[in-house]
């Protein structure tokens, strides 16, 4: 890794020599390698599932300057995998929580925190002061933003992504290597990505993939080994199988090809088909509020409650609805009585809105979507119902 920061030779103190002794006695790292690590400047986007192990190991390994970009607050549901944060940090800014842990591990670390959302407006400016970028956010808009900004600034992009128990890792946007857009010029349209029902992630998986990202960062800095340039590593944690695929630099790539069409950063939310502020999507189907459902159920009105979540979600909590997962609805629609009034719910209201639209098309006249789903019910009607 050609760093431009080494005009002043980096000297390790006596304490640092002791701290890094297991590196120093290894010829692949040695004093020269440890000095390269200390001179290196790595920017981690996000301090979540992937960012936690990534930042922890880079700090421990002696990376001199570590930048962290995050705007989020530690949430209780993060703790299952975001190991840089602890229970006492719930409610704190992730940056503050992460900074405490990293400084605790390595007080020699020069930590630079950026309390902001990475955006098209700030990415190029932020990237300028770093040598390597590691994306730990794992969502499409940020991924394309990081990729394009890395290509435009000429910084390697250490990539990792996870889905349930499957992961991908690679190194993109090096001088001669492919970028993420060589692989996937465009993101999938929102409707075709698996819905929330199939979401979730095995807690250890971001650990595994984040440590792979950290490994690649260290190798790039030291200039040793075979980095994952031009290779996509596929990780199947369930089968514990690793496969790799060859990636090629695409001459027609819209950003790193020979005649690029993307020459500056764009609106990545729009590019990924995401518009407007976060709001439970109702698709314009008729809705009922949780308070009204409660009142009408208490009044013993003839209402049929249909729950279109998955069976494992039903086990977490339910309000006694008839369970037909959204994907099974077309085959099981005959279980429903179209003469009765039906209220459909899911976790937050997205899947049930699709179910309502489907039932309307199938000729059901009296179908309503429960706005906000069982989560709204737990928040506003029955606090004994657990949220997940």
């Amino acid at each position: 890794m050609a760093t431009t920061t080494t005009e002043i030779p980096v000297i390790l103190s006596k304490e640092e020599i002791l701290r890094y002794s297991r590196h120093l006695i290894m010829p692949e790292v040695g004093m020269e390698g440890q000095q390269k690590l200390k001179a290196a400047r790595v920017l981690c986007i996000g301090t979540g599932g992937l960012g936690s192990p990534l930042a922890l190991y880079l700090a421990a390994a002696g990376v001199g300057t570590l930048g962290l970009v995050d705007f989020d607050v530690v949430d209780y549901t993060n703790l299952q995998r975001q190991i840089i944060h602890s229970t006492a940090d719930v409610g704190r800014k992730k940056l503050d929580s992460a900074a405490d842990k990293l400084k605790g591990i390595n007080p020699f670390l020069n930590l630079r925190t950026f309390d902001t959302r990475l955006s098209s407006e700030n990415a190029l400016e932020l990237f300028r002061d770093f040598d390597i970028i590691a994306d730990g956010t794992d969502n499409f808009p940020t991924r394309y933003l990081v990729n394009d900004a890395c290509v435009l600034t000429g910084k390697p992009n250490v990539y990792g992504s996870i889905f349930r128990f499957e992961g991908q890792a690679s190194v993109f946007a090096t001088e001669d290597g492919p970028c993420y857009r060589c692989l996937y010029p465009e993101p999938p349209p929102p409707g075709l990505v698996p819905s929330c029902a199939e979401g979730g992630v095995l807690g250890i998986l971001p650990g595994l993939v984040g440590v792979m990202q950290a490994t690649e960062v260290i190798k790039l800095i030291l200039g040793i080994g075979d980095p994952l340039i031009g290779r996509l590593l596929l990780i199947d944690a369930l089968g514990m199988k690793f496969r790799e695929l060859k990636l090629r630099k695409n001459p027609d790539c819209p950003v790193c090809g020979t005649h690029p069409t993307v020459t500056k950063l764009i609106d990545y939310n729009e590019f990924c088909g995401i518009r407007g502020e976060e709001k439970p999507v109702s698709n314009g189907v008729p809705e009922i509020q949780v308070e009204e459902l409660k009142r009408r159920l208490d009044a013993k009105e003839d209402l049929f409650v249909l729950d279109v979540r998955e069976p494992h979600e039903y086990q977490i909590c339910n309000i006694g609805g008839h369970l037909i997962p959204l994907n099974d609805l077309p085959n099981r629609v005959n279980e429903l009585d179209s003469s009765r009034e039906i209220v459909v719910h899911c976790k937050m209201g997205g899947r049930s809105a699709k179910a309502v639209a489907f039932l309307q098309q199938a000729g059901f006249k009296k179908v309503n979507n429960l706005a906000g789903g069982i989560t709204a019910w737990a928040e506003r009607v029955d606090p004994k119902v657990p949220k997940y």
Binding site: G49, L50, N139, F163, R164, P187, E198, L234, R243
Partner: protein
């Protein structure tokens, strides 16, 4: 017979299998056989006018078929085909309807 590796997000459309055995002498034929066996998979792999979707990459062994003969790429007995879609497990900056 060749083996098609099915990625996690698409396993729900093939009876939760991680691999499916199909016959076909090219990638195109193998995929046709796959979606005939599992019709629900079709719209996730193909656009309405029958073209392969841009975010679905296909490999024969470890080679991207875009750099071979695309869907006409020959598949020999014992070759494996991988369907590799783009994945993202993280929370979106702005959430949309598909992720709660």
């Amino acid at each position: 017979m060749s083996k098609i590796h099915i990625p996690t997000p698409l396993r729900q459309y093939v009876g939760k299998q991680s691999t499916v055995e199909v016959t076909g002498s090219t990638v195109g034929e193998a995929l046709t056989a796959l979606v005939e066996q599992h019709p629900e998979l079709r719209r996730h792999l193909y656009t309405e006018d029958g073209r392969l979707r841009a975010f679905v990459n296909l490999y024969v062994n470890d080679e991207d078929i875009r750099y071979l003969q695309k869907e006409a790429t020959v598949v020999n007995a014992g070759d494996s085909i991988s369907i590799v879609p783009s994945i993202a497990g993280g929370t979106l900056i702005l959430r949309s309807g598909f992720q709660e």
